[in-house]
Assembly symmetry: C2
Homo-oligomer: 156 residues x 2
Amino acid sequence: MTTMSEVNIRRAHRDDVATIVAMLADDHLGGARERIEVPLPNAYFAAFEKVDRDPNFALVVAEDGAGAVVGCLQLCIMPGLSSQGASRGLIEDVRVASNRRSRGIGEQLVQWAVGEARARGCKLVELLTHHSRLDAQRFYERLGFARSHVGMTIRF
Amino acid sequence: MTTMSEVNIRRAHRDDVATIVAMLADDHLGGARERIEVPLPNAYFAAFEKVDRDPNFALVVAEDGAGAVVGCLQLCIMPGLSSQGASRGLIEDVRVASNRRSRGIGEQLVQWAVGEARARGCKLVELLTHHSRLDAQRFYERLGFARSHVGMTIRF
């Protein structure tokens, strides 16, 4: 085990978009889906604005002591009728910078999201993780998540 | 095979809430989570209002030729940075009235949701289905979904 890196979880700003996209791309599954160009394609900024202005979505980053962004996560709070009208939380796009992994940064991000969802009245938090991400599945189980569902997807 | 029942998919109204909750409860997993009382607990109506006023959520029902509500589904459209800023669709709470199953109603609901997500710019539609729902998994595979992910949940 390496030491824990204490991070500050804060709402993402427009200035963080390039760093976030670089983390999304630095991944065996995500790499092929992103376009890392200078300047970054405008679609990323347009998506950021949509997330940023909707209170049901929270895109957050983990910032280290020096102010560097070293992780990200998106939480979606979804109202719905089931479970007596309780909202549900969905966690998406959890990433930690490749040179900062295994220091508890992902854990702090996910714990933040679970706490935030709970504070906002959710009775359930859910996520999909690719079946090939065995380390991620063990990580989430350690944080109290169960492998209760099959995650199914269709891409266009 | 029984005959297909052609249904009309329309946005849910406040008057549909009790019927939707009855369908959510009529299920081996959902039954224990709902409170079917007369009048229905107000939390269901409060949740309906939240869903109804947010354009990112669509709660729809399937209506048969006689105007009876025989199915429901909730679609959530989530903006996000990944996949070049494409939105994602999440399908939740798919139910068909127990006496109207195996007539293609669920298929029409899911095809509506996939088409709507695509029309709204999503590149991906995802859903979680409990690992015990083997019929549901086969159903979604038939509609083009892949069992690509593990669905993980934490309940409070």
